[in-house]
């Protein structure tokens, strides 16, 4: 199975501070994704990437930036963290369906972020 790791696993930040969440995948997938999961809202897409150097806005990008410096790494950046960004963040990797491969996505273990 695809290996996706995230760091840190838990993070406590202060309002107005900068937070960087990191994700690494070792399966050479082109696409990577950042989701957040909240009670009552389920999982929602924040940013995604088609490959190194690319970032795209997802459904709820406001307040977040993303960076894809390499095929393996994808970061989510909160420049000015707010309490409303307290959530569990999941990174995922996968590929687009080409008619041959599966576009299955594999998820990391999640990062629990608390902004005080």
């Amino acid at each position: 199975e695809a290996a996706v790791t995230q760091s840190p696993r838990n993070k406590v930040a202060v309002t107005g501070g900068k937070v960087t969440l990191s994700c690494n995948q070792t399966n050479n997938h082109n696409n990577m994704y950042w989701y957040r999961q909240d009670t009552g809202h389920g999982l929602r897409l924040i940013h995604y990437s088609y490959g190194a150097g690319s970032t795209e806005k997802g459904d709820i990008p406001d307040g977040y930036k993303a960076s894809r410096p390499s095929q393996e790494n994808f970061s989510l950046i909160l420049e000015l963290a707010t309490p409303s960004q307290t959530s569990v963040y999941f990174c995922a990797s996968g590929d687009a369906w080409t008619g041959v491969n599966y576009a299955e996505q594999f998820f990391g273990p999640g990062t629990r972020l608390t902004v005080l």
């Binding site: 088609y50 687009a96 369906w97 996505q105 594999f106 998820f107 999640g110």
Partner: protein, 110 residues
């Protein structure tokens, strides 16, 4: 906006009973994936099933594209099956990103 509806929202079973979980989509999709999640845990991919029927152990998924729906059948449930089951649809024209349903919370009792 893509939407995914799951039913039922919650389900309680006695051990060894079967479960049928449903998922419906607002648009046609070529990407359907079922996940399992324990409270506070990671999403574990159960089945990737864009069309037809696919089986993995006690799990069987059936996706009917033209009816925009997918189901997950769990046979002979076990206590360890308890958790939340999430259905997600993808759009290959939008980076293959997933849109998730609200989930079905399954509780299996002894």
């Amino acid at each position: 906006e893509q939407q995914v509806q799951q039913s039922p929202a919650s389900l309680v079973l006695q051990e060894a009973e079967n479960a049928e979980l449903q998922c419906s989509f607002s648009i046609f999709t070529n990407q359907v994936q079922w996940f399992y999640q324990r409270p506070g845990g990671r999403l574990v991919s159960l089945l990737y099933n864009p069309s037809g029927t696919k089986q993995s152990g006690r799990l069987t998924s059936t996706t009917v594209i033209k009816e925009r729906r997918s189901s997950l059948h769990i046979s002979s449930s076990q206590i360890t099956d308890s958790g939340t089951y999430l259905c997600a649809m993808g759009n290959n024209n939008a980076g293959a990103k997933l849109t998730f349903g609200g989930g079905t919370r399954l509780t299996v009792r002894p």
